[in-house]
Symmetry: C2
Subunit: 402 residues, 2 copies
């Protein structure tokens, strides 16, 4: 009966996903969420427990009288993934436990000057090997995910276009997998796509079915969730919000070769230029400094946020008209920019969005601070385990398997 086996596998994955995302759920809650009966759930939990993926324990401080019921928790210590994040200014790597806990984290500043594939992959592979080597004995790496600031071909993690490094068709995912040498493939996604997913799973858009995530790095990326799924389009390259033209005839030049793209008007350089900062300043710290200066009353900084907020508002207005989303989330550098220019953004939305289209939309800042993209990469890495928990799990590296 292969079909029954499929159902069992799906149920195991489903149960583990709920526990992984929620952190601690009673059997009753699991029954409600999965629609499975309690005896089926008991059996599945026993299997997941035997595999070292979950444990049952007494909840902490329920504050209720009587015997509290057990809760099922993810076993953070046994199974982990490696998550990488290639952003414009930094390289990040982390070991992330089941349940989404960042167990260990390494970070390096990345020089803006063009970096070749070998350099980037070499640095990340070094991080990955350190994280793997320092993992406690008996723990298991269940997957590898990476976030990249460019356009990624689904399936093989090829960077089709990475504007800030000047990459075209670089086999990033395959090469990182080879250099890590763990015998696991590397799943790669665009940073804003992964940020959107992370915010939907664990952040400011938890549970949202129609969500727009705008990620500011040096430029602007987008991750758009429609009916619960990422808008990837015909070939995986949807959501390029940053290259929506908002200022066609008077626009700033964009790295993509066009003019007046949203990212040219609201990206880091646009803000810093409008605030009169010299070209030597760059990066998130410089952006934060402008927002802080505006808070303290510096006119040039306030002017810059007004200009950038206006363009950001036009971009967001267009997106709301097109997507009728439930929530728009500002992440990465755009979190600061939005906080410093929310009035301008909101005014543009009021001016340009049809009244009916904005009835339900909420504007939020990222709930995951600087880690939305990294957490998105970790979730990508966990995907296979959550689809098929028991068969995906490799043997532990040491002899402590329970």
């Amino acid at each position: 009966m292969p079909e029954l086996e499929d159902i069992r596998r799906r149920n195991l994955g489903n149960l583990l996903r709920h526990v992984h995302l929620d952190g601690a759920l009673s059997r009753t809650e699991l029954a409600e969420r999965t629609g499975l009966n309690r005896s089926t759930i008991m059996g599945l939990i026993a299997e997941l427990t035997a595999a070292g993926l979950v444990r049952e324990e007494l909840p902490v401080g329920t504050g209720r009288a009587g015997r509290p019921s057990l809760v099922v928790r993810p076993e953070t210590g046994r199974v982990y993934v490696l998550a990488f994040d290639v952003a414009v200014d930094r390289l990040l790597a982390a070991r992330v436990g089941l349940g989404g806990t960042v167990l260990e984290r390494l970070e390096a500043v990345r020089p803006r000057a063009g970096a070749d594939l070998d350099t980037v992959v070499g640095a990340l592979a070094g991080f990955g090997k350190r994280l793997h080597a320092t993992a406690p004995p008996g723990t298991v790496c269940a997957g590898i995910g990476a976030s990249y600031c460019g356009m990624i071909r689904p399936g093989d993690g090829m960077v089709r276009y990475g504007p800030d490094m000047g990459w075209v068709d670089q086999a990033f995912g395959a090469e990182l997998g080879r250099r890590l040498g763990l015998g696991l493939p590397v799943a790669v996604g665009n940073e804003a796509h992964l940020g959107a997913r992370a915010e939907q799973l664990r952040g400011a858009g938890m549970g949202a079915q129609n969500l727009v995530y705008l990620h500011g790095d040096a430029g602007v990326g987008g991750g758009i969730i429609v009916r619960g799924e990422l808008l990837d389009g015909e070939a995986g390259y949807g959501c390029e919000v940053g290259h929506m033209v908002v200022n066609p005839y008077d626009g700033r030049p964009c790295m993509c070769g066009s003019r007046g793209c949203l990212e040219a008007e609201v990206g880091e350089r646009a803000l810093l230029d409008a605030a009169g900062r010299p070209p030597s300043q760059s990066g998130w710290s410089a952006v934060r400094a402008v927002v802080d200066a505006a808070d303290r009353g510096e006119e040039a900084a306030q002017h810059a946020l007004a200009v950038v907020g206006d363009w950001l508002g036009i971009g967001v207005a267009n997106i709301i008209n097109l997507f009728n989303p439930g929530v728009v989330i500002f992440g990465g550098m755009l979190r600061e920019v939005y906080l410093g220019s929310a009035d301008h953004v909101r005014r543009r939305i009021a001016d340009h969005v049809l009244a009916v289209s904005r009835e339900r939309v909420r504007l939020r800042i990222s709930g995951l601070a600087d880690d939305a993209t990294l957490i998105g990469a970790a979730e990508l890495a966990f995907a296979e385990l959550l689809r098929n928990p028991l068969e995906t799990l490799p043997a532990p590296t040491a002899s402590t398997r329970s």
Copy 2:
């Protein structure tokens, strides 16, 4: 076993849908498309045949030797739907047979001056009653659908916003149903949403999973299909492409109260003004006249198409960057405008769309000429029958039921 009954119902609907959309399919083709085995298919076809929904017959001129196998065709003569289309300049109604054949059609010019709900519904109900009364005895009306040039609340067909008539929250669907008095609800959709669906099912985007349909009436509507489904967003109001701001600081005023919206820059009035046509001219015929004049070499008309084509190209570029679609379809009045300005549109796409994002996109004109929205309304009306063929079907109005 309610589950088996559900499966049977789904299979019946699925089979009927294939025949309805394709026109004629052999049992072998049906088996391939549905994944059902031949004996199951035979049984289901027998049920659909007994209900008068399909018939089996010899195919016309197969040109092959040997005994040709039977094909299953939709029974166009027995079951029909009523489809309505409220556009800016006209009111349309049709009786459409299973299989999508327009059996009878009524049309009236609609004056542009504001029309109230009562007037519009009265005219449509008059059409509907005539179509129903002249239907042959023994035929059955299986559903009613309507396309409307405004924002429609899903579920009850409330017009939330109909800019050209100045409608806000008018109970269009309910009122039309009441006035028709056929005991059937009226399913209402936005015209461009329905046009998109029609093009996907029967037109220039047949089978496309990621499709953008742009509908020019006086303004511009959009219907966007993502992963095979209409992008309706949080509350059904997605795809408002016409109100994407493309010209924020120098834009023409838009009916929505904003400025520089795509529809303000490429709508009928923008084209006619740019061509120096007087305000007394309007409508599709005036638009066609400009395109024809440009073909004959009139400079003012060529200039107008260049200006409008430029803005249209910017709008389409933004959409391609956002959606990575497989096909973009120009319908309604935009069919003519695109044909007259394709060079400008394509140049803008080349300038503003990331190379990777445009690798797979095709630009097409509507395959359904002026009827995309009407056919979309008919498909909406057929939806319930195709979900559950035998139980949806009401008794015939006369005594010829087979």
